[in-house]
Amino acid sequence: MSIYLDHNATTPVDDRVVDAMLPYLKGGYGNPSSGHRFGRESQQAIQCARERVAALIGVQPAQVVFTSGGTEANNLALKGVMALAGENSGLVVSAIEHSSVLQPATALQAAGCPLAVAGVDGDGKVKSDAFEQAVSKKNVALASVMLANNETGVVQDIAQLSEVARTHGVRMHTDAVQALGKLDIDFSALGVAAMSLSAHKIYGPKGVGALVVEKGLRLQPMLHGGVHEAGLRAGTENVAGIVGFGMAAELMQSGLIQRTDHCERLRQRVEQALLKMAHVVVFSRQVTRLSNTLFFAVKGIEGATLLMSLDRDGIAVSSGSACTSGSGKPSHVLLAMGVEEGLAHGAIRVSFGSRNTVEEVDLLISSLQRQIKSLLKLNSGWA
C-alpha cells in the first residue's frame, strides 16, 4: 500500500462527501433549470451547498458563484474584472501565483493589458513595498495575490495587502484554493473583492470550485449561454459535484485546530529529521506556512531522482505544483525567491493530510534518510 503525501495536489474524497453526492449521481437527476419536481430538487440541493460554502468563509450564499474548479474561478476573476475595467486598465499579480493566475495574466497582457508582477523575498513573502509600488501606478484595476502558496505553503498577509490596494483604489482578488480548510478564512476581514476556491483540495470532488465575489462586483462572464449562477456562469450545474463541495465545506467547519495541529506534528517530525542531515535546505521556515506543507531540497540531488526512489518505497510526494509536474522546469516559486536553479531542481514537496499517521511519516523519514544517503554517495563517487 502506498503512502499518500501529496494532499496539495489533490485529496481523496471523504466518505461522508461521497454519501452526500450519491443520491445525485444515481437518483436525483433533474436539470436545476427545469420547473418540474426533479428540477426543483436539484435546485434546492444546490442552494443548500451554496449556503454551506458561504458559511465556511463568512459570506452570503448569493456571493458564491460555482465554477468547474479553481482554474476557472481564477480565470473568471481576472478576465471577468479586467474585461469591464475599461481600456488600458492595469493588473498586478505576485510572482509566485499558481499558473491559473499567471497564465490568464499573461494572456491579458498579450491582449494589451499592462501587467506588473510583484516580487517576493527569500522566504516567499510578497514584498509589500514592491506591491505598493505596483498598485499605485495609474489605472490599475485589480491585484491578485494568493492566500497560501501551493508549493511553499507560505501564507500572505492578504488583509494588509488589500488595504494597501484599496487606498489606491485597486480591487483585490485572492486565490484561496490551497488555504481553504487549512486556515480560518473570513472573506470580509481579508478585504478582498473576490476569492477563488476549489473542492478537491478539501476532500471534495474534482471538477467543482467557486468564485466568491463581494456584493456589487461587476464581472463579465467567461461562459455564455443561459442565466445560470445569476448570469455569471452559464452551463447546466454539476449538481453532484456542487453537493459534494457543500458537504466538504460543512466538514471543514469544525476541527480546524485539530487538523492543523495534527499536520504540524507530522511536519515537525520530518523537518527535524531532515535538518539533522547535511545538504538539506527547508524553504520558508522563518515565515507562517500552512501546517501541512513541507518544501525542501537536497543540494546535489535531482528532485526527479529522489521522487523515483521514494516512489519505489511506495511513497507519493511531488516536486512542486502538480499542474507543472513533468515539465522538467524548476519551480517558478523558488526562482522568484532567489533560490539558485540547481537547488530549485532538487525541490521536493511533502503535503500531509488529516489521515496521515505517525507510522507513515516514520516510513517517509527512514526512506528519505536511506535514499538521500545513497544518492549523495553516488554523486560523490562521480565527483
Binding site: 502506498s2 501529496d6 444515481k26 437518483g27 418540474h36 468547474s68 523515483m308 499542474c323
Partner: protein, 408 residues
C-alpha cells in the same frame, strides 16, 4: 387511469438524464482513498499515474463513439463550455483571416449567447432562418458564406424539436468553401450515428449528462487532419495540450467515458425502442383536435416529440401535468415568460409556441409510462380547454386571427 409504476413519470430526457447505474459505479471507484482519487497531472507517483490511465481509457471511449482519434478529444465542464471554447476559440485564433460567423436561429443559447458576445467584440454574425420543418436551407447557407467567413456553427439535433440537420452536407459545403464547421452534438451523440472520419466536421461539442453520464463534464472534438487551431479560453497549467487548463475531474471523465461506451453498444437497439415508444405516444394524441407537431418527424431523433396543444397555455399545462416531468421549450429558458424562440423560428405563431410541450423519452421509459402520459395529457388538455376563452371562441367559429386583441 392506468397505473404507471413511477409517478411522477420522467419524460424530460432532453433536459438531462439520470446517470446509468453502470456509470455511477465507475465514478464511485475514482473518489475515495481506496479508489483512483489521484490528480492525473501528478507525474511522480502511482496515484497520479492510475488517474491518468483512467482518463486515457475514457478518452478512448468518447473518441470511439464518434470514430475520432483520442487525441482529438478535449475535456471541458460541459457542452456549454465546449460551444464557448469552439466558437470563441476559432474566432480569436483566426481573427486576422476574417470576422464573420454563420449560425442559425434555432441553436442552443450556449451558441447564440456566445455569438452575441463576439458581436460585442466586433465580429459579425449571420443568424440563418430555418424552414418550417426546422431544417436549414442549404442554398441559403451557401449564399450566406462570404470571403471573410471563418466559422459555421450549426447543431446536429435540436434540443426542443428533435430535428436532425444534415451535418454531412453542411460539412462538405464548409470544407469546399474553406470555412471551419462547428457542430453542437449535445443532443445527438449516442442517439444517432456520428462518423467523424466521414463527416467533415471540424469541431464538435459533447455533453455527458444528456446520455446517462454525469453533469458538469463534456468534451470538444478538435480535428487534427486538417488541423484546426483554437485559442484557449481557460488558462493555467496547460492541460489538454494547452487548449483547456484545469485539474481533470477524473470521476466525471470516467463517468462520461462509460456513458459513451454504453451508448456505442446499445444505441441501435435503444433508438429502435424509443422510436416505437414515440410512435405510441403520437398515436395516443393523433385524434385530438387542434394539435400541431413541431419539427419534421421524418428528419428526427427518436426520443423527442414536441407538440402544441392549441388554445391551452404551456405553463398551465405543465402545472396540470405535474405527475409527468416534461418541459415547455428549453430548460434553460423555462423560467422566462418568452415563447420558445426555436418554435418562433419554425414560423409558429406566438400562441402555438406558448402552447407547446416537449416530451422526451429515454432509456428508462416504459410503455406503461407512455400510456399513463397519453391518458393524463388528454384529460388535462380537455379540462384546460374548458377553461380557455380561446377554445370557446374557436368552437363558436370565431376566427381568432381576426380578433383585435387589447394591447397589454
Amino acid at each position: 387511469m392506468s397505473k404507471s409504476e413511477r409517478v411522477p413519470v420522467y419524460l424530460d430526457y432532453a433536459a438531462t438524464t439520470p446517470a446509468d447505474p453502470r456509470v455511477a459505479e465507475k465514478m464511485m471507484a475514482c473518489l475515495t482513498m481506496d479508489g483512483d482519487f489521484g490528480n492525473p497531472a501528478s507525474r511522480s507517483h502511482i496515484f497520479g499515474w492510475k488517474a491518468d490511465e483512467d482518463v486515457k481509457i475514457a478518452r478512448g471511449h468518447v473518441a470511439a463513439l464518434v470514430n475520432a482519434d483520442p487525441r482529438e478529444i478535449v475535456w471541458t465542464s460541459g457542452a456549454t463550455e465546449s460551444d464557448n471554447l469552439a466558437i470563441k476559440g476559432v474566432a480569436h485564433f483566426y481573427r486576422k483571416k476574417g470576422k464573420h460567423i454563420i449560425t442559425c436561429k434555432t441553436e442552443h443559447k450556449a451558441v447564440l449567447d456566445t455569438c452575441r458576445q463576439l458581436e460585442r467584440e466586433g465580429y459579425e454574425v449571420t443568424y440563418l432562418d430555418v424552414e418550417s420543418s426546422g431544417l436549414i436551407n442549404m442554398k441559403v447557407l451557401e449564399e450566406a458564406i462570404r470571403e471573410d467567413t471563418i466559422l459555421i456553427s450549426i447543431m446536429h439535433v435540436n434540443n426542443e424539436t428533435g430535428v436532425v440537420q444534415d451535418i454531412a452536407a453542411i460539412g462538405e459545403l464548409a470544407r469546399n468553401k474553406g470555412v471551419i464547421f462547428h457542430c453542437d452534438a449535445a443532443q445527438s451523440a449516442g442517439k444517432i450515428e456520428i462518423d467523424l472520419e466521414k463527416m467533415k466536421v471540424d469541431l464538435m461539442s459533447f455533453s455527458a449528462h444528456k446520455i446517462y453520464g454525469p453533469k458538469g463534464i463534456g468534451a470538444l472534438y478538435v480535428r487534427r487532419k486538417p488541423r484546426i487551431r483554437i485559442e484557449a479560453q481557460m488558462h493555467g497549467g496547460g492541460h489538454e495540450r494547452g487548449m483547456r487548463s484545469g485539474t481533470l475531474a477524473v470521476h466525471q471523465i470516467v463517468g462520461m467515458g462509460e456513458a459513451f461506451r454504453i451508448a456505442k453498444e446499445e444505441m441501435a437497439a435503444e433508438s429502435a425502442r424509443l422510436l416505437a415508444l414515440r410512435e405510441r405516444l403520437m398515436n395516443g394524441f393523433s385524434d385530438m383536435e387542434e394539435i400541431y407537431v413541431n419539427g419534421d418527424l421524418s428528419h428526427h431523433v427518436a426520443g423527442v416529440l414536441n407538440i402544441s396543444f392549441n388554445f391551452v397555455e404551456g405553463e398551465s399545462l405543465i402545472m396540470a401535468l405535474k405527475d409527468i416531468a416534461v418541459s415547455s421549450g428549453s430548460a434553460c429558458t423555462s423560467a422566462s415568460l418568452e415563447p420558445s424562440y426555436v418554435l418562433r423560428a419554425l414560423g409558429r405563431e406566438d400562441e402555438l409556441a406558448h402552447s407547446s410541450i416537449r416530451f422526451s423519452l429515454g432509456r428508462f421509459t416504459t410503455e406503461a409510462d407512455v400510456d399513463y402520459t397519453i391518458e393524463l395529457v388528454r384529460k388535462k388538455v380537455e379540462k384546460l380547454r374548458e377553461l380557455s376563452p380561446l377554445w370557446e371562441m374557436y368552437k363558436d367559429g370565431v376566427d381568432l386571427s381576426k380578433v383585435q386583441w387589447a394591447a397589454h
